[in-house]
């Protein structure tokens, strides 16, 4: 019966459009262990459309040169492409100016960068940094390092059993010593979409800065940093259908102008003598050394591609898949969904009674299905739910309801194999 529902739904105009976008991803035609690949590990990294692969190949074949250096033609081409990529990101995020966009290696580097430079000017001993129980290790450890160095303290917004932030308990943490709020837009382990506006407002009322980890949000929902009024927003290219090795740190120019450099080197200076170095303005001040040029160009193409698909269709398709997978998972005896947030991005975490997530991951892999089994770099969150690990299935617009059926069937076989 489920199969007929699926094929019926797959004939909708939306499903047809999505299937044609799916054709742009060569890897989705691969087979794993002789089975068609079912890729449900999109929160770890997304697959790349042909256009992203093409612009990066073209860059290496026809345009490769270092940026901001040469007077020769190729260097000018490379510089233009790299700076155009910055403009694309600025427009995509609704930033005020391209100078508010700093390219990094990824979300982790963006957070480390901002934690370290803010630490030099904003943090005093006894100050407080607020984050949440939902955070990925990359939005915990850099702040912990900063606390160890400066004598500041971490305060943690607790979560409710649903996986939503506890607004009441959390809001009481804000006080005169609050300097920074570091918060995920979307939880990588549960899919919770945090309603950011009230939290950012709370931070600003206390004169604190809001740093938003958007790694898991940006593939699923449009982000407008001006409307959010956050001070910093960070994400990675590879979770957005772009390449690895490129990330973004958006910062309000009022802050970037005042902050000291992070790493020193070429490209971040206006003049160097052994007595005194003059630092360049943002973004160059924060981009020492040769940047990831091909990756920035690849990211810009990924953004153009994503905009062509359109967030409206992306959200409709991902909601359709997420609702369907939740409905089918609930049919499996002994299943426990971890977190049932009010608003959820296309991420689902679950455990099965008596079967360890790693065993489930291995059995699914044998059926060609890629899911994540583990603690998802969110050990404090696993601790909260008293599970060592979960199985996480995370979706992209190129996934189909038929693929969900394949996973549900494989989970049935897993239950059978382990004979509860």
């Amino acid at each position: 019966m489920s199969t007929s529902i699926t094929s019926e739904r797959n004939r909708s105009p939306l499903a047809d459009r999505m299937l044609s976008w799916r054709d742009d991803f060569p890897i989705l035609r691969e087979r794993v262990h002789g089975k068609p690949l079912v890729y449900f590990d999109n929160a770890a990294t997304t697959q790349k459309p042909r256009s992203v692969i093409r612009v990066m190949t073209e860059y290496f074949e026809k345009q490769n040169a270092n940026v901001h250096r040469g007077v020769h033609s190729l260097s000018e081409v490379a510089t233009t492409l790299y700076e155009e990529a910055r403009k694309t990101v600025a427009r995509f995020l609704q930033a005020g100016s391209p100078s508010e966009i700093i390219f990094t290696r990824g979300t982790t580097e963006s957070i480390n960068l901002i934690a370290q430079v803010l630490g030099q000017v904003v943090i005093r001993p006894g100050d407080e940094i607020i984050l949440s129980e939902l955070e990925h290790h990359s939005n915990i450890v850099p702040w912990q390092l900063l606390c160890e160095k400066t004598g500041a303290h971490l305060r943690v917004i607790p979560i409710l059993e649903s996986g939503d932030l506890d607004a009441e308990a959390g809001s009481r943490l804000f006080g005169p010593k609050t300097r920074i709020l570091a918060l995920a837009h979307v939880s990588n382990a549960l899919g919770t979409v945090n309603d950011l506006a009230p939290w950012i407002r709370l931070a600003h009322e206390r004169g604190a800065l809001a740093v938003i980890d958007g790694a898991q949000a940006i593939p699923h929902l449009p982000v407008d940093v001006a409307a959010l009024d956050c001070d910093f927003y960070v994400f990675s290219g590879h979770k957005l259908y772009g390449p690895t090795g490129i990330g973004v740190l958006y910062g309000k120019s009022v802050w970037l102008e005042r902050l000291p450099p992070w790493q020193g080197g070429g490209d971040m200076i206006t003049s160097v003598t052994f007595q005194k170095t003059q630092y360049a303005a943002s973004p160059q001040r924060f981009e020492a050394g040769t940047p990831p040029i091909a990756q920035a160009i690849g990211l810009a193409e990924a953004i153009r591609y994503l905009e062509a698909v359109g967030y409206a269709d992306i959200q409709s398709q991902e909601n359709r898949i997420t609702e369907y997978v939740l409905q089918r998972l609930r049919e499996i005896p002994g299943i426990h969904l971890i977190g049932e947030p009010r608003e959820r991005a296309a991420i689902v975490s679950f455990v099965l009674d008596g079967i360890h997530p790693h065993d489930i991951g291995t059995v699914l892999d044998q059926q060609g299905i890629a899911v994540r089994a583990g603690h998802h770099c969110a050990m404090p969150l696993m601790e909260h739910y008293r599970v060592p690990a979960t199985v996480r299935a995370s979706f992209a617009f190129y996934n189909t309801l038929n693929e969900v059926d394949v996973m549900i069937e494989a989970l049935g076989k897993t239950v059978e194999l382990f004979g509860r």
Binding site: I355, H356, H358, D359, P388, L417, F418
Partner: protein, 156 residues
Amino acid sequence: MNSLLSLYQEIILDHNRSPRNFRKLKHATHEAQGFNPLCGDKVRVYVEVADHRIRDIAFEGTGCAISTASASLMTEFLMGKTLEEAQQFFESVRHFLTQPPDTPPLPGFDLGKLAALGGVRRYPARVKCATLGWHTLQAALSQDAQSVTTEKDPHA
């Protein structure tokens, strides 16, 4: 499912469902905690040694079928063995689990039921699940280390 069945043989599934010697030892002379930070598996191994012989051995913890079954089989295997024998078994089992599939076991070593663990050799990501209990035992018996992590040994 064929290659899956070679990983999850009945003996593994059985030891996962009903792990042997899954308890705390009150009179343990040696114990250690093992941890695989990649998957969160935790195991605590207890040993009671007298006259260079393992009088009792048990374990507790949470883990996948492979790590639970491996630790369970280990306790069955080593019960009553001398410390020298236990050390030899550790070396032999580690060799067996970390070599490419179809590598014959070390000479003079009868794998017995432990042969069922051989399936992990086709799953490099799962080898550490099978070796966790054994490394923890090694740590318990060596006295100096009280906690081991699978990430310390690049070859396991």
